[in-house]
Amino acid sequence: MSDSAFLSLEKLTLAYGDTVAVKDLDLSIQKGELVAFLGPSGCGKTTTMRSIAGLLKPKSGRIRLEGADITHVSANKRSVGLVFQSYALFPHLTVFENVAFGLRLKGISGAELEVRVVSGLNSVGLTKFANRKPAELSGGQQQRVALARSMVMEPKVLLLDEPLSNLDARLRLEMRTELQRVQRDTGVTMIFVTHDQGEALSLADRIVVMLNGAIEQIGTPEDIYNSPASAFVADFVGFENIFPIENGRLRAGNGPIELAGPLPHDAAGLAWRPRMLTLGSGPFQGTVRGASFSGSAREYLLDTPFGTLKAEVDAALPAHCAGAALAFDLPIEKAAKLKRFN
């Protein structure tokens, strides 16, 4: 672990009873970073987040924050905030009292309390709702109360569980902007959990892709999007045509694929996004099984000797009907080179 790590997880193993959810996880996060834990449900991302919050005791391994070992520090003394997916606002308290809750426990009262709560509410634009109960607010407003409630505590790390998944498309954009602004203004280290690659790509500085309780790949959104390390990550970020390399040859379900040119010798597989296929020319022949028009693009399902492939071209190009025969190519230079095939 590097010395500059603000938050580090070292050989962290987490379990529910005998079921191991996360095994030997190593991760270090810098101060002020906005990190996404991305993965399908059951991959261990939420479990890892809960252990950082102190809500789950690790079976083994360590968690360090600013160099101090906080593995056994209880959740109420960690300076780690968590915005729950369900927001978890206290239904019997007003918005003001929800935000004041943690400050009161710190012994803050009177004018200082008032100032801090109001400025917290102000930063999420909810000052005029201070006297409402949570049930009288919309989902988006409740989430902003939850955000303010955590942020007034000035946590060292703010954790967010699926922060955008309960919001509709317009609110999502608003909340995304909000979170980025809070992060920019306060410099708080943020970690959020999501199963949505779009959310992770658009919000995070760095993405930790998880699968089966282990880290599959860590990288910037560009790294993850353009250079997935494994077939799983490739599939997760939208590469739909993925083939392993076995014995130096690219392999489809029913036999080898002979590409023009040498294969990269350090790759375990190649993956193409639908956009990366060349349609209309090339050494291979396919038949259009289905076509769809999405406004900006035309998508095709092609029956080919290598199985069904997915291709996408600009909508300005002329359409092909189902049943049409098409030449196509899988250009090696465009393919993502997978280090692992799983």
């Binding site: 102190g54 978890a88 606002l89 809750f101 505590m153």
Partner: protein, 259 residues
């Protein structure tokens, strides 16, 4: 017969069956006669006034109140933590505990009373008031667990974690965010327990001793000796008390949501 007329008749008969005795009691208590009779002979409030003069009624009323308030409070003291544990944790014998707690509803009161008398009071010379108190606590416990559990199940458990992450201890989270949100459930359980305990007869019948008697038992023994309308007057007063309590509970708590 026309089905509407038929159902109206059935409805009327059921209502008459349920409310009839109450009307008869109220009417009989207002009688000017010397014996309990219906229809009442004349009109007077003297039997209502007499209720407050009978000393044993005052004493047994105090005993019944003590049992109803104290027993219900004790049952809630046990029942709230039990409900919390049953609803928040996956306990190995959770279902068994739930069943055992519900037993006093299922086992006939007369058996509970006899058992306590025969195996607790008689062999150990156990204090009868204490035995009554324990019996009433046990009888009310199932209701308090059921009603409090219902309100706990309607409450998200992640608000406790949220409170902890904001600096509260686990116990603090219970008192700061769980209790305030189940308060109306607890009040509903208290009222239900109070009424159950106050109206309890079979168990209290066995656990009576010199100077230790609950009001319903005292009324029974009073009637064996004195057959005057004052028992009817007392019954009517108690019925109005119960109606008042349930009405207020429904008005302010939406009681019917819990029971």
């Amino acid at each position: 017969m026309n089905p509407r007329l038929f159902s109206a008749t059935v409805l009327f008969l059921v209502a008459a069956f349920l409310i009839g005795p109450f009307i008869i009691i109220v009417a009989a208590s207002l009688s000017a006669g010397e014996t309990l009779a219906f229809p009442p002979q004349g009109f007077s409030l003297k039997w209502v006034a007499k209720v407050f003069e009978v000393e044993s009624f005052r004493e047994s009323f105090a005993m019944s109140m003590l049992l109803a308030v104290g027993g219900t409070a004790a049952a809630l003291t046990l029942g709230i933590p039990a409900s919390y544990a049953l609803s928040r944790y996956h306990l190995p014998f959770g279902e068994a505990v739930r069943t055992v707690v519900a037993l006093p509803i299922i086992v006939p009161g007369i058996i509970v009373g006899l058992a306590l008398l025969r195996y607790l009071v008689v062999p150990f010379n156990f204090n009868i008031t204490l035995a009554l108190f324990l019996a009433h606590t046990a009888l009310v416990l199932p209701y308090s667990v059921r009603v409090v559990s219902a309100s706990l199940n309607n409450l998200r458990s992640d608000i406790e974690e949220a409170a902890v992450l904001l600096g509260s201890s686990r116990a603090g989270a219970f008192f700061r965010v769980v209790m305030p949100n189940i308060r109306s459930g607890i009040l509903a359980a208290f009222i239900l327990g109070f009424v159950t305990s106050f109206n309890q007869v079979p168990v209290s019948l066995f656990l009576s001793g010199p100077g230790v008697r609950t009001l319903p038992i005292d009324m029974l023994s009073y009637m064996e000796i004195t057959y005057d309308p004052s028992v009817a007057a007392l019954s009517a007063l108690l019925a109005f008390m119960s109606i008042g309590i349930v009405f207020l509970a429904e008005r302010f708590l939406g009681f019917s949501r819990y029971v």
